[in-house]
Amino acid sequence: MGGKVTSLLLAGVGGQGILLASDIICKVMMEKGLDVKKSEVHGMAQRGGCVTSHVRYGQKVYSPLARKGDVDMIVSFEKLEALRYLDYLKKGGMILVNDEEIYPPSVNLGEADYPKDIYENLRSQFGKDSVKVIPGPNLASLAGNRRAVNTVMLGAISRFTPGLVREDWKKVLTEVLPGKILEANIKAFDLGREA
């Protein structure tokens, strides 16, 4: 496939800061001298619906969209959303899940049930070492900013990006995030990285 390209699929719900997180990943990769592309959809799809962002990096990247069965890591910012795109995961790929439930409308209305045993199912299907659950809301609160769940998840992702050190990420976070929330976000990043 023309040199190895790494593909990440970030998934979740509008408002969780997924697009900012994928922007940060792209910047980190670019500053490491890699080619990087990402893709997401704006507009109507964002009004409370699912949000996905494909991020792909390597020596040369053509497609900003990953194909099914070719994603190295699914990063789900919401528990249920981890199940929606499993057909994108590569054999032996990783799944990172933020431990947070956001009910879709049919569950809110009592017409459908929020799936139970999501983690158990994922582990039995993909192997227990391939599924990592991150207590995002807890860690973000611990870092002093409940909204920093996306930075917690970046920290968790950073564990699986060989060739990059904490400073590579910290540098970009410092460039991108406003000063007054930076400290809490760096802490959130570190907590996610250690989780």
Partner: protein
């Protein structure tokens, strides 16, 4: 220097770098960020026009004056702008005119999936199509040069995946372009009466022929020779999908999709054993290649509908997919929804209760057609709500009295609702028309419009008074309501539906996203579990902040005094904006604020 940019940001940057000074258009996904970004550069003029037709006409004026000018719109916007489009092709441009059309394969945020490459051929206007952000920046520059070189408007076509993908772009400094604007009187060229237009018509054909020849040596049309077994002709984003799947094959990558370089295509076809065209939507290139008498495979194996990805291309060409089979569990869908606190919720909740046919329009409020609001019955295009309601009401006659409503957003009304509202006054409609006025163009991300009091570049300006306009157009009855006041909204709807002649209701409350976080979070509601009887009335307004907690499923203790009660409603304090709608609907007074 390198930067990561979306295709839209790169187009804006490229336009500015090459000395474009003028941009006009109307917001529309996936095109919106082009003008928003361009407007922020120094030394440019950019405006939101009321609609794409006006935007194109404004851009034509700037090009006639000698500027490098662009008109920016989504694919369906070109339909609105089609009238000036087809004739500016005849007049040519003096300065430079680029029309940007952002198409939306897969209808991520659109009402149809039209392939605007057809407009290029139809209107005889050359069209460039970039494949990523770097090309988007390079091609917008080429588009301006091409426009000046051949005295023609030029299309730049993107798709959602080009506009909204981000990739690495080399940033350059803007050129210092001399001001070339001046008044030139060229009536034979610009006054398109039949005798002049006939002469220009001939020029258009000569020009197309000249561009066709130029296309043979245009560096944006390039062959990348690999294995001679398979050759792929492609353009735009599908090039990337194909290269991702089959880096070893030979490619003819077209930067100019109209007109096509026939010699180059014949040459390429002769060098490969099996030829494919990889293109999303219509067989635009394929049909032309076939008309050259060249054997080629396209839509016989590729889908007509939806955008591609590398997997689609792989499957079409090889007949099989390399993806491992994974059975996906059926899980609850997560469709987009009106935001918590959205004022449209109150309006459409009340409209549903009237049982009227609600002819809707394009905007966030179109989402109200979904359950549980079920507040809309049709949506065709920008501005159609009013005409459709008028036509229905006329066709139904007395049967339709009090049963037909047209609803249109504020920005959409300005876009193409004014003439059609005038028609209802002129031709005496009995329907009720509602402007859902949330003080912004919400769906595309809060753009200003002629009733917000500000321009795209942040200048304070006039703000249109909808009520006064309704009166001037000849609407008999004009009312203003707060859609989050349920009782009042219901009363006014009932009252206006009974009246003879057209009525206009302005349903006015700002988009919740315009309100400050502090204002929103100061007044959240909660449900009192002792008072909630589990009737689900509050759930029927479809607010994402309210959810149902089933006693049995959650293990919550059931109510010993109310045996039939199955659960209670709860409000998520992090989502509630204090709009009060659910509290107004609750007959048990079980929804209240802290301290009430």
């Amino acid at each position: 220097m390198q930067e990561i940019m979306s295709g839209n940001e790169a187009i804006a940057r490229g336009a500015w770098e090459c000395g474009a000074t003028f941009g006009a258009g109307y917001p529309g996904t996936p095109s919106t960020e082009i003008l928003e970004t361009f407007a922020q550069y120094k030394g440019v003029y950019a405006e939101w026009s009321p609609n794409e037709k006006v935007g194109l006409e404004v851009a034509i004026g700037a090009a006639f004056a000698g500027a490098r000018s662009m008109a920016v719109m989504k694919h369906v916007g070109v339909n609105v702008a089609a009238d000036p489009l087809f004739t500016v092709s005849y007049t040519g441009t003096n300065g430079a005119l680029v029309i940007i059309t952002a198409d939306d394969p897969s209808l991520h945020s659109s009402q149809n999936e039209q392939d605007n490459r057809n407009y290029a051929k139809f209107a005889k206007i050359p069209m460039l199509e970039p494949a990523d952000s770097q090309e988007a920046k390079d091609f917008i520059k080429l588009a301006f040069e091409l426009s000046e070189k051949f005295d023609t408007p030029v299309f730049l076509r993107t798709t959602t995946r080009v506009s909204h993908s981000k990739s690495v772009v080399r940033i350059e400094e803007p050129v210092k372009a001399a001001d070339r604007t001046e008044i030139r009187h060229l009536p034979l060229k610009y006054v398109m009466v039949p005798m002049n237009a006939r002469a220009r018509r001939v020029e258009v054909e000569k020009r197309t022929q000249a561009i066709r020849e130029w296309a043979e040596t245009f560096e944006g049309n390039r062959m990348e020779m690999g294995s001679p077994e398979v050759g792929i002709i492609t353009a735009g984003m599908p090039y990337n999908y194909a290269k991702d799947s089959f880096p070893e094959y030979s490619y003819l990558k077209l930067g100019l999709v109209h007109p096509l370089p026939e010699k180059m295509i014949r040459d390429f076809a002769s060098k490969v054993k099996k030829l494919f065209v990889v293109e999303e939507l219509d067989p635009f290139i394929e049909e032309q290649v076939k008309a050259m008498g060249i054997e080629v495979t396209g839509k016989a194996v590729f889908p007509y509908t939806n955008e591609f990805d590398p997997g689609v291309v792989e499957k079409a060409i090889t007949g099989k997919s390399s993806a491992p089979a994974v059975t996906l569990q059926t899980i609850p869908p997560r469709p987009p929804n009106l935001c918590p606190g959205c004022p449209h919720r109150g309006l459409f909740y009340a409209l549903n209760k009237t049982k009227a046919f609600v002819s809707g329009d394009i905007g966030c409020y179109t989402l109200s057609y979904m359950k549980p609001l079920s507040g809309m019955d049709s949506c065709i295009c920008m501005g159609a709500s009013i005409g459709i309601a008028h036509g229905m009401s006329k066709a139904l006659g007395p049967k339709g009295k009090g049963k037909v409503v047209g609803v249109i957003g504020d920005s959409t009304f300005i876009h193409s609702g004014i003439t059609t509202l005038l028609n209802t006054a002129y031709n005496r409609s009995d329907a009720v028309f509602i402007i859902a006025d949330n003080r912004t163009t919400a769906m595309t991300g809060m753009q200003e419009h002629p009733a917000t009091g500000f321009t795209l570049q942040g200048e304070k300006t006039k703000d249109l008074d909808f009520a006064a306009l309704g009166k001037v157009l000849g609407i008999d009855s004009v009312e203003v309501i707060d859609p989050l006041n349920f009782k009042d909204t219901t009363r006014v709807l009932k009252q206006e539906l009974q009246k003879e002649g057209p009525s206009l209701i302005i349903s006015r409350a700002p988009c919740v996203l315009l309100m400050s976080k502090k204002a929103v979070q100061a007044k959240q509601f909660f449900t009192d579990p002792d008072k909630c009887i589990g009737c689900k009335v509050c759930l029927s307004c479809g607010c994402p902040a309210i959810s149902w907690r089933d006693f049995e499923k959650t293990g919550m203790p059931a109510r010993p005094d109310r045996k039939k009660q199955k659960g209670i409603a709860v409000i998520d304090a992090t989502l509630c904006t204090g709009c009060t709608l659910c509290a107004q609907l609750c007959r048990q007074e079980a929804i209240m604020r802290e301290g009430e």
